[in-house]
């Protein structure tokens, strides 16, 4: 049993990393009052950019290329998300429609670009983020093998992002203003907050984080960009966002929950202790649990009140 646990935990954490960072991206956007269905597409843009960047520069830059690729992924996600911001904030288009447009555009444009730039829709990277033993900490009994041996740096980066996000959203004036724009933009506006600007900021940050999530997909478990990158991780992140009640710690819990459920489901066939459990149980578990949780808690789990509504100064 211990064998199984030490195998599962590091992998589950690695799988959680991209999911969590994308969900945190969604958090920023929705907290500012813009529903972001386009997370999947932004993730795909990031995945494509990082794969392309790493595969073209690895030969000359070595491991630096991986970090460069992640930075490029974040940036490209941010830039691409401005399309969504322009349509839904400036042009006051329906946010769900423009988010969907982002998804469709992204999955088409990345494959097109991949093909015209490299000749193939699949871009493979030679090396991603390699798991390592954290010096010192990995020697701690119990905790060491679970969290610090064979650990992927991605999860530590993402946890840091969660911490920073919480601090920004709940301890800085910027966060208060951002949340105000998602709850009651008219009140925020009357207090001198530039709603348009705040919403642009929210969407842009969500693009950066979702793009980074795409970069992590490539550098942790997928290893290549292909049309299969669009397999619904962005939507799972949205589910984690709702399940986590639009709160960084809740989102962290929800993402870990999904990550573990998925990894245990995959791994269940390999270990005697888990073999007896029916696989369908694990595979459907996270989704069933989400529905149940939503039914039970939806009363007091309402999202940001103004999310989904374009801001109209004249409307009261």
């Amino acid at each position: 049993m211990w064998d199984a646990i030490t195998s599962i935990v590091p992998l589950a954490l690695t799988y959680t990393a991209p999911l969590l960072v994308i969900a945190i991206g969604g958090l920023f956007s929705e907290r500012s009052g813009v529903v972001n269905i386009g997370l999947e597409g932004l993730m795909g843009i990031g995945a494509f950019t990082s794969a392309f960047m790493i595969s073209t520069t690895y030969g000359s830059l070595g491991d630096v290329a991986i970090w460069l690729g992640l930075a490029a992924a974040a940036l490209s996600g941010g830039v691409f998300s401005l399309l969504h911001a322009f349509a839904s904030v400036t042009m006051k288009a329906d946010q769900v429609v423009s988010g969907t447009a982002v998804n469709i555009l992204s999955s088409a444009i990345t494959v097109y670009l991949a093909r015209s730039l490299t000749g193939s829709a699949n871009i493979q990277i030679i090396k991603g983020l390699i798991r390592f033993n954290v010096p010192g900490l990995s020697a701690i009994p119990v905790m060491g093998p679970l969290f610090f041996q064979n650990a992927n740096i991605a999860i530590f980066i993402v946890l840091l992002i969660v911490l920073i996000s919480w601090y920004v959203l709940y301890r800085l004036p910027f966060g208060l203003r951002l949340r105000a724009c998602g709850e009651n933009p008219h009140a925020a506006d009357s207090m001198g907050v530039n709603v348009i600007k705040m919403r642009y900021a929210g969407v842009f940050i969500s693009g950066i984080l979702a793009g980074l999530g795409g970069g992590f997909v490539i550098t942790t478990y997928s290893g290549e960009f292909s049309p299969l990158v669009y397999s619904g991780l962005g939507f799972l992140a949205l589910a984690a966002l709702i399940f986590g009640k639009w709160n960084p710690w809740g989102v962290l819990g929800a993402a870990l929950f999904f990550g573990f459920a998925k990894t245990v489901a995959d791994m269940s066939r390999l270990f005697e202790a888990l073999k007896t459990m029916p696989n369908i149980l694990f595979n459907t578990f996270p989704y069933v649990a989400t529905i149940v949780a939503l039914v039970l808690f939806s009363k007091n789990a309402a999202g940001p009140r103004a999310a989904g509504e374009p801001y109209d100064v004249g409307k009261r």
Binding site: T6, Y58, A121, K127, Y221, S222, S226, L228
Partner: protein, 372 residues
């Protein structure tokens, strides 16, 4: 304001369409030129419809397409085009085939068992068109073969290439533990698995190796890369050092896990499938985690039957199974990760199969008998 905007838009559309029309007419005229200049007789149009996945999937579709391109580049007597159907249902495939037929394509190549019913319908509707159905046979949905004189159904003896891969794995393992990850549990994948089991067993008997397949499972899809990595990690943790995957993109996850470990100096390997996956397994030091690959020469099949049709020797209505003997399956020519000795022994085994001293099991029952 609005009016101005609309009119500008209209003008733009018109300009673009004129330019586009100009381009296309140029293209067609240049094609005509090339036809006129080439002394060969009029080229035959060869079309392909892709299976799930894209044309550059490094697997089935790409293999087929490469076979067609190779034929074109060598003989210059065909004109090629592929269509990606709008979906993966029977009607999507039929529509794609109809589109090709309507635009004058005389030979249509389709890779994958999903085309079976669609080609069955298309073949009776278009008697003048020739179909090459790779990895499937025409039937009405009940898996009872329906004969069409304009269709050749091509199968592969996956079990034979997997048998050789199994021998290679048994001879190369250090821990004595081997793994197998299949995609969906469908006949071609199963044959890979059975052949692999038989190969390991044979090597144990003949060469005295002590290899055992400790994990043998089907992931259930061809596209869950994350699950592939998780499964591979679990197996490697248990001491398995060679995993044979027959699982499409699930296998990409397997490769990813093996590469992670190889970067840190661990000696783990993957056996690739369908095509030579040596490049897929490359790590930063330039080495590869690909031990060898159990190949299925889809490109050879496409090439050979286009050739047969154009030379008037098309085996219409037949089901053909390509094996080691026809070079339709097998291991790659170069296997840098196999030792000299292993390569020699594999050649021996291959010879025995070709001389029919070994019959590689191709069904579950035959495998059970083989194992006794």
């Amino acid at each position: 304001m609005k009016k101005i905007f609309t009119s500008v838009l209209l003008v733009l559309v018109m300009v673009i369409s004129v330019v586009a029309a100009g381009c296309s007419s140029k293209e067609s005229s240049s094609q005509k030129d090339s036809k006129e200049t080439s002394p060969a007789k009029e080229s035959v149009k060869v079309g392909m419809v892709t299976d799930s996945g894209t044309i550059d999937d490094k697997s089935f579709n790409q293999g087929t397409w490469e076979g067609i391109l190779k034929y074109k580049n060598e003989k210059k007597t065909i004109e090629e085009k592929y269509l990606q159907p709008s979906g993966e249902q029977h009607t999507d495939y039929v529509n794609a085939v109809n589109d090709l037929v309507d635009s004058g394509y005389k030979i249509i190549v389709t890779p994958g068992f999903k085309f079976e019913t669609a080609i069955n319908e298309a073949a009776s509707n278009h008697k003048d068109t020739t179909f090459i159905l790779i990895d499937g046979m025409t039937h009405k949905g009940d898996f009872k073969f329906v004969k069409h004189d304009n269709v050749v159904s091509v199968f592969f003896k996956e079990n034979e290439s997997a048998f050789l891969a199994g021998v290679a794995a048994a001879l190369s393992t250090n821990t004595g533990k081997l793994g197998f990850i299949g995609g969906m549990e469908i006949p071609p994948v199963q044959r890979f698995g059975w052949g692999y089991q038989a190969g390991v067993k044979y090597a144990n008997e003949k060469f005295g190796t002590k290899a055992e397949i400790v994990d043998y499972l089907y992931q259930g899809s061809f596209n869950d890369t994350a699950a592939g990595q998780t499964l591979a990690a679990g197996m490697y943790n248990k001491g398995v050092d060679i995993i044979f995957h027959a699982a499409g993109s699930v296998g990409i996850g397997v490769f990813n896990e093996a590469k992670q470990r190889a970067e840190k100096g661990q000696k783990v390997y993957v056996i690739g499938v369908d095509v030579d996956q040596f490049e897929t397994g490359k790590i930063s030091s330039g080495k590869s985690v690909t031990l060898t690959s159990a190949m299925k020469r889809i490109d050879v099949a496409a090439y050979d039957y286009i050739d047969a049709k154009l030379k008037g020797k098309f085996p219409g209505g037949e089901i053909i199974t390509l094996s080691l003997a026809e070079n339709g399956v097998g291991l790659p020519e170069n296997n840098p990760n196999l030792s000299e000795d292993t390569i020699k022994k594999i050649a021996e085994v291959k010879k025995e199969i070709l001389e029919k001293k070994i019959t590689v099991p191709s069904t579950k029952e035959e495998l059970a008998a083989f194992k006794k």
